[in-house]
């Protein structure tokens, strides 16, 4: 093989795009030609430098939200064909509650309140149809990796079975026009949706909120925001949040 041929094929070699036969020939030439070998070394240095995360850009949250917001009917996303039909056929109380909640939340200007509203809407949607969980597992090591590549955050998933909260799975949901992680637990017959999203606002102390009769225990940790929503009483929900937070801090 000549230097000229090698100058072309060395890139495919660096990129792992060369078939075995050409790779052997190219490597044989590189072993006997210091000039070409120097280029190969340089291209490897360059490739390593170019793979640094600092050379990639992260899309601004505002851009992501604008794109999300331009898509039709984001709030109608969760119900599946079946649950939509069921909702229409039964004229269910939940559908009414959902519609009412949407009106209320569109009217409220305060972002904070809107997010709390979205969180309750998402909780209601999850109970309505057959879309409570996309990944069904009581194993945190199954649920946590499922979120990889589906979200721009890696939510902590904690096994709280010993504390009386059973992990049943997870799904991707939408809050404030952004995809968020929803980790689903059960306490007796009650569902707890724990929503986890990248924190947009300031960090804040944990607080309990009530929206439409649902309790929301909300807190922040490092750059993540957490909203636990359920119809269990406020004390139990707070206990859930504190156990979860404690486990995250202790690195469980």
């Amino acid at each position: 093989m000549t230097c000229e041929e090698t100058r072309i094929l060395v890139h495919a070699l660096v990129d792992g795009e060369l078939d075995a036969g050409h790779a052997r020939e190219t490597e044989a030439h590189l072993a006997s030609c210091p000039d070409c070998a120097a280029q190969l070394r340089d291209y490897r240095v360059m490739r390593q430098a170019l793979s640094a995360p600092a050379l990639r850009h992260q899309a601004p949250a505002a851009l992501r939200a604008r794109i999300e917001g331009a898509l039709p009917a984001r709030r109608a996303v969760a119900p599946s064909r079946r649950s939509l039909f069921k909702g229409l056929a039964m004229g269910s109380v939940l559908s009414g509650a959902l519609a009412a909640s949407l009106v209320v939340f569109v009217m409220r200007q305060e972002e904070d309140q809107r997010i709390l509203g979205d969180v309750v809407s998402a909780h209601l949607r999850s109970l309505q149809g057959d879309h409570l969980i996309d990944v069904q597992s009581t194993d945190q090591h199954t649920v946590k990796p499922w979120f990889n590549g589906r979200l721009d955050v890696a939510p902590p998933v904690i096994d709280l079975a010993a504390q009386g909260f059973t992990l049943i799975g997870g799904r991707v949901d939408y809050v404030d026009a952004r995809p968020v992680a929803a980790i689903v637990y059960k306490r007796r017959a009650h569902v707890i949706n724990l929503f986890v999203a990248q924190l947009m606002g300031p960090e804040r102390r944990a607080t309990i909120e009530q929206v439409q009769g649902f309790n929301i225990w909300r807190w922040t940790h490092s750059d993540l925001g957490f909203w636990a929503v359920s119809d269990i009483n406020a004390g139990e929900l707070q206990e859930f949040g504190e156990k979860f937070e404690a486990a995250v801090r202790s690195g469980a």
């Binding site: 100058r7 495919a12 990639r56 850009h57 999300e68 996303v77 995809p179």
Partner: protein
């Protein structure tokens, strides 16, 4: 009837989100290198996703990432064409004038690159002319395969290899040159 139409829309939006949004950072990264400014990149990416959603039904079994990047590239090229006549054609002509195997006589053969900090590398890449800049960004920063790059730029794989070879040769020259200029600093973009 109306509910059905709405539902189909919502279903399409949901499938689009799942397919397209995970690649937003990659598409945005490419836009930043193609457009060179954050504001222009924002606009281009938003337009790209609008177009992509409109033509989403045309994406059948294809990988979403190169498809989105091809749309983004068209958006960027259209914008440059709008701004200044036939700039894109000029860039492509420059490539033909300098075939890969004609290394400049001054090209340092045995000098070895030093590792540089990311800011410097970013500036060196940003200074490359098109279509070499996009070749390097698609391959080395966005991590696309040759086949995917060929799909994005709408050229045969041989052309992709030739551009990439030329692009790395240019980058290496600029890199070595910057090593002899200790004052070299990133220009703010």
């Amino acid at each position: 009837m109306a509910a059905r139409v709405e539902h189909d829309d919502a279903d399409k939006a949901r499938r689009f989100r799942d397919a397209a949004l995970p690649h937003l950072d990659d598409v945005y990264t490419l836009a930043r290198y193609l457009m060179r400014s954050a504001a222009d990149a924002d606009d281009a990416v938003q337009e790209c996703y609008l177009r992509a959603f409109r033509h989403f039904d045309g994406l059948r079994g294809q990988a979403a990432k190169p498809w989105l990047m091809a749309i983004l590239r068209n958006v960027c090229r259209a914008e440059f064409a709008r701004r200044s006549g036939a700039a894109a054609d000029v860039a492509d002509a420059a490539e033909d004038a300098a075939p890969l195997w004609q290394e400049p006589a001054s090209s340092p053969e045995a000098a070895i690159l030093r590792q540089r900090d990311s800011e410097t590398v970013h500036a060196l890449v940003a200074a490359l002319p098109e279509p070499f800049r996009e070749a390097i960004v698609l391959r080395d920063i966005n991590d696309l395969s040759y086949r995917e790059i060929a799909e994005v730029v709408g050229a045969p794989i041989g052309t992709v290899m030739s551009r990439l070879g030329r692009a790395r040769s240019l980058l290496r020259e600029a890199w070595l040159k910057s090593e002899h200029e200790p004052q070299y600093e990133e220009r703010s973009t």
